[in-house]
Symmetry: C2
Subunit: 192 residues, 2 copies
């Protein structure tokens, strides 16, 4: 019987190699452009053999999708942490939506071809639903507390927020991102 | 010398053939799916020879891009007409943004693969800028009249509107689209 510790060591090793492949591929893709990255380059720069690399991923696209999934999971965790640190329902909503806008603002630096590949992939549908549900719950809570309008369903308001804040990707400064958040939040307030 | 009337007849004929190619290709793409449409099918269904078709367009993708450009131009004209029919600055803005939301709502029926192709094409950058400028001018006018907040530049507000209203694409009903427009417009109102 293989000892448990040995299995854990193998798992940790495999995880570390996988992480290194993702990091290297992302660095190469942003440095040299998406179309010029090859599996050989990735293997060489990660410090593993090509045959080993192919045991982890079938092609460059699969690696970039895995990188993107990891990135989305990290962003979702970041939003959960921010929610848990903030005070009441209204403040939680404000803090999470501002953080989301800054994530969208950062994302623009990926470059257009990379962005089109990652967001056309269809592998993000589950994460998108998760995000939508997360924001919907925050909105429902804030509506109960009277901070958010209750004449429109939280799910519809979540769609509005997430689309509106995506405009942060095209904004030139952090100040502009904050103004976008202010305007978006104003749309959520109970009608006068 | 070729008489002027003859040239006009040729131009009108070329224009009619081009329009027929666009209509046929769109019908085939929406009926059978994007990837299954061939140049031969398009020629046959348009009632022209394959050689003639290739004098107009090099491939199916080019035809779909041309269709999309025509579609965007028609939508912009529709928004201009709506602006010119509405009353004061505030009502012009409301009417145009509602019409834009309904266009975004209709657009979802294109299907995912067609949508990804058309919007990843880069051929829409000019039209996007035109639309952004059009909405910006409406917002500047409405801000002057006191109907729209003036603490955020009209260009930033235009980005906010256009992104927020794109959420209409995922909405299940016209009533939901109208609620989205209401929420988006609420974000534009002068702060209390």
């Amino acid at each position: 019987m293989v000892p448990k510790l040995w299995n854990e060591t193998i798992d940790a090793h495999r995880h570390a190699v996988r992480e290194a492949i993702l990091d290297t591929t992302w660095a190469l893709a942003t440095e040299h452009g998406l179309t010029s990255v090859t599996m050989s380059q990735i293997a060489e720069k990660t410090g593993i053999g090509r045959a080993t690399l192919y045991k982890y991923f079938p092609d460059v696209e699969a690696i970039l999708f895995a990188w993107h999934e990891r990135q989305i999971a990290a962003h979702l965790q970041q939003l959960v942490d921010i929610r848990d640190e903030a005070g009441d329902a209204g403040r939680r909503l404000d803090a999470v939506l501002e953080a989301y806008a800054f994530i969208a603002h950062e994302r623009q630096r990926h470059g257009a071809d990379l962005g089109a590949l990652l967001h056309g992939g269809g592998h993000t549908a589950h994460a998108q639903q998760h995000l939508q549900g997360f924001v919907r719950d925050l909105l429902a809570e804030a509506a109960k507390a009277g901070d958010v309008r209750d004449d429109v369903a939280p799910d519809e308001l979540a769609g509005y927020c997430l689309y509106a804040l995506t405009a942060a990707g095209g904004l030139p400064s952090k100040a502009a991102v904050r103004r976008l958040v202010t305007v978006t939040l104003a749309g959520l307030r109970p009608p006068r």
